[in-house]
């Protein structure tokens, strides 16, 4: 399986605090990679290194390399805006803009300079369909993105990402604010999406990682302790710390 992204000896610092320590991790194309670990282990920080969202944090520093299709995204001259188009992100808290549902989805394409109403209509419909939201809200495209339920808002945020046609989708605990039914819908959606996209998901929920992912990485104190096929990592963990964590002895 081709590696879509690779990190090589990735270190990350918040000021003097080292949050990631020499992480080497390859992300397979068209598969789902889950990152698990206790709070503060660096899994979210790692995720945000993959589309340089950490750039907006003051006094942070990255060392090592992050490759997207074998190009280092941290090398000078890389267009961060271009990068984030290719590597989209869904956040922990559903964060639709205070605009209409239509405008939320059209936001990305519009910023890329697309203003043709017909093309926008098509993109909005296709994105909402792909995010399994179209049938629920097709009558309400003019309503505020904040007026729908939390689970719908999160799928709207996914639709919004799909509208800019990324290659990789990063999901930072996308279900932690949702109820079980809404969570199930997102998980089903992820299985559909992986046919066309590469997905990396950070989750607190080990069952979720076991259910949805093909590969799992276990982080602890900024280190990638173990990384392997999900079925293997959860059944025969190689590292004692992984075993302790997945059997619920800490975390």
């Amino acid at each position: 399986m081709r590696k879509k992204m690779n990190t090589i000896d990735l270190d990350f610092y918040y000021g003097k605090n080292q949050a990631l320590k020499g992480v080497n991790l390859g992300i397979n194309e068209n598969e789902i990679t889950a990152l698990i670990g206790p709070s503060g282990c660096g899994k979210s920080t790692f995720l945000r290194c993959l589309n340089r969202m950490n750039d907006i944090i003051l006094q942070s520093r990255v060392e090592g390399r992050v490759l997207l299709d074998d190009v280092d995204i941290y090398q000078p001259g890389v267009d961060v805006v271009e990068l984030r188009k290719k590597v989209g992100m869904v956040f922990q808290q559903p964060n639709p803009f205070p605009k209409s549902i239509y405008e939320n989805v059209a936001y990305g394409p519009r910023r890329l300079g697309l203003h043709n109403r017909g093309s926008l209509d098509n993109i909005v419909e296709k994105s909402l369909r792909d995010a399994a939201l179209w049938d629920e809200i097709k009558e309400d495209l003019g309503k505020s993105g904040l007026s729908i339920s939390g689970g719908q808002q999160q799928r709207l945020c996914i639709a919004r990402v799909l509208a800019v046609e990324p290659e990789v989708i990063l999901m930072d605990e996308p279900c932690s604010a949702l109820d079980p039914i809404a969570t199930l819908k997102i998980e089903e959606l992820m299985q559909d999406l992986k046919k066309n996209y590469t997905i990396v998901i950070v989750t607190h929920n080990m069952q979720q990682a076991a259910r949805v992912s093909d590969w799992t990485g276990f982080f602890l104190l900024g280190e990638l302790v173990e990384y392997g096929k999900t079925s293997e990592l959860f059944s025969i963990p190689k590292d004692k710390r992984t075993e302790d964590y997945i059997t619920g002895r800490f975390g």
């Binding site: 271009e82 188009k85 989209g88 964060n95 803009f97 910023r111 890329l112 945020c157």
Partner: protein, 288 residues
Amino acid sequence: MIKIRNMRQFSDSAWKQVILVCGASSIVILLLIIIFTLREGLPAFTEIGFFKFISGTTWKVANDDYGILSFIVGSIYVTALALVMSVPLGVFCAIFLAEVAPNWMRQIVRPAVELLVGIPSVVYGLVGLLLLVPQISKLGGSGDSILAAAIVLTVMVLPTIISVSEDSIRSVPRVYKEGSLALGATQWQTIWHVMLPAARSGILAAVVLGMGRAIGETMAMIMVIGNSIKIPVSPLDPARTMTGSLALEINYATGLHWNALFACGVVLLIFILALNSIAMVLRGRTQQ
């Protein structure tokens, strides 16, 4: 036990009374201001007639002929011109401070902006007289003009517009910004299409606060606006504001002249109340 409970209930209700009195006092003060201004101003309205008073273009104390249209026009003209200059400047400065400036720069600029608020308006007037009026006289006229007054006002209302706008931009949830950036929007697109719309009710409040300050400003206006009683046309014309007339003439006014000045104060109050009502309606609309 029961006794203690009674004590607590007593002190609780006593606090409620104290707070109620404090809250009510602001309304009482506002009412007193309106009542007394009205009482002194009403004779002018009855003697001259309300519409004749506000539409009259002559103000001749010797003839007991009082019309304040030129003052009204002067006040609105100078306020509008000041807002045209200060709103873009202030909002962009707020964006810069909230989103663009590095921390150390913000720590210098922000206190400097706040210091501007503390400078007495008479000092602004002096500086305007010294720096602006001679330059503007080169464009034509005496230099004492709407333009000079509007520039002085711009500087005076900037701190209000900047700090209130900056606060409202900063209070936009960080997730909006991150959501936009993560979609491949540039920093500027994110500010323009997400941050500013989300902050617009706060920015609107900033503009209205600035407007209130501008229309009420007196001292600095008197010093640079020329104070001539005629309807200004060009920004280089001198003019007189409602507040300026009050300050210039109240010391020697008697009889109908005194009442006319208070009536002018009543009109000013109506303007301020109307402005605030418009602002409240606008804010209500954006919040929906």
